[in-house]
Amino acid sequence: MTAENLTTVPHVDRPPPLPARWTQARILGTTLLCLWAAAGLGLIYFLVRSWNPDLLHRYAPNYLSGLWVTIQLVVISIIIGALLSIPIACGRMSKNRIWSGLAYGYVYFFRGTPLLAQTFLVYYGLGSFRHQLDAIGLWTFFRDAWYCALFAFSLNTAAYQAEILRGAIESVGKGQWEAAKALGLSRIQALRKIILPQALIVALRPYGNEIILMIKGSAIVAIITVYDLMGETRRAYSRTFDFQTYIWAAIIYLAIVEALRNIVDWIERRITRHLQR
């Protein structure tokens, strides 16, 4: 009977879509889009016109090695930062005054000062304590600009990641904790099985943003003598005075960020399948 009813339901057409009118906002939007397209075409025209196989042949290997340095630096410091961020986030959420105070101070300092200043402090600041560092055997580490950069970046991103983690965990309703407790789960079990899976969905976007910021921020290592992508660009520019060296660097950074954005999108689609209706 139900089947019959279903078949007899009359077919209803959707109302036809309203004709799109040329409102002021639409005209403005289209104009802006045209301007952007013109800028993009201009850039492509410029690159085609100033195409210089000599330049490419001479500096492309340098750009690749610079890119590799940038990727290593960002990946390793993000991983170290993620590990460091766990105790810091715990400290931020702790009821113990000393722990939470320490964690608060750490985050306050690293989020409140420029990464450039932090990198300089580590590189040139610690450089002036050479003899003390030598005495405790740390100078071989801090002598190398790459390690200094890694050190500064890891500490910096740890502060941001700790805040992301804390925010995400606190965004999960208190009722979830209470329900887990009512089921007899321990705090650790509740965190691992109930809270974190929900929190990490919230944290995914901010984590993606943090990695993107680190990739762009890593360009400052060029001024403490690390030949990352930006360092190689500066080197090429200082020999050629051709500012397309910077355009190529910008294009490479843009490509990495765009790839990363798509990866984050893809992960988000996957881990929120159960939320889609």
Binding site: S128, R130, A145, I223, T225, R234, S238, F241
Partner: protein, 254 residues
């Protein structure tokens, strides 16, 4: 009506002031001189933030000779040629060596001093320019020293800094084994308090370097003016006076 009359008055006053300004500008040519300001004792900022040094004194003497009103603009080294091309200033007086790569971008005047590239290293170090493989050499990015190390010491570790001052900072704390730079600038540093740690090592590795003023390509008239002025201050003893103020040796060469 009162208002419109006042506007007319104000406009004519402005026009008058502008024409007077234009007239006085013709009397003394105005020149903007680009320099780095981080290259003692050639061009650096003193404690009160004013430019001083050999390049600056030479520039002032040349401007006086050319009857030009000169204004200094400081610009970071690795952007100094593009800034000249973009018209931020009219000439670079910043101890710039004449090189082929640069000569494709700018025109050079006659040289106003000569230079050689020389290593410095800590006094206790046994650094030897002829055996620098595996050593860490500090240079300033975009200088002939940087190019020289890249070409002649492929097995050395090259650390390039935005300015000369940072290269020396890392020499005194031991991050680099030696610094390669112009003789004059190294001389100034090892004479200073900060440079007491270090001394010259070995003979100059490249002594065929001429330092000149850079102007935009095609501005031969300005370059000629500078050339005449350089010859004039060489002649009238002004150059020798400035030379003596900074160096106990003849820096002009030949």
């Amino acid at each position: 009506m009162g208002i419109s009359r006042r506007i007319v008055l104000a406009l004519s006053a402005t026009a008058l002031a502008m024409s007077m300004g234009a007239a006085s500008a013709q009397d003394a040519t105005k020149l903007k001189i680009g320099t780095e300001g981080a290259y003692p004792p050639f061009n650096n900022l003193n404690a009160s933030g004013e430019l001083e040094g050999f390049d600056i004194d030479i520039a002032k003497a040349l401007c006086e000779e050319m009857n030009a009103e000169c204004e200094f603009v400081t610009q970071e080294w690795d952007g100094i040629i593009p800034a000249l091309q973009a018209g931020k200033f009219d000439a670079i007086i910043a101890s710039m060596s004449i090189t082929e790569e640069r000569a494709q971008q700018v025109d050079f005047t006659d040289p106003y001093y000569t230079n050689s590239l020389t290593f410095i290293a800590p006094k206790e170090s046994d650094f030897d320019p002829s055996a620098a493989d595996g050593k860490v050499i500090g240079v300033q990015q975009g200088t002939i020293a940087a190019a020289f190390v890249e070409e002649n010491y492929p097995n050395a570790d090259l650390n390039a800094y935005p300015s000369q001052l940072e290269a020396w900072a890392d020499l005194s704390n031991g991050r680099v084994d030696a610094v390669l730079a112009d003789f004059g600038v190294q001389y100034g540093w090892v004479q200073s308090d900060d440079g007491q740690c270090c001394e010259f090592k070995g003979d100059p590795v490249d002594s065929n370097d001429r330092i000149a003023i850079a102007v935009r390509k095609g501005e031969t008239e300005l370059a000629e003016k500078f050339n005449t002025a350089i010859a004039a201050i060489r002649e009238n003893g002004k150059y020798a006076e400035i030379n003596k103020k900074y160096f106990p040796f003849d820096i002009f060469g030949e």
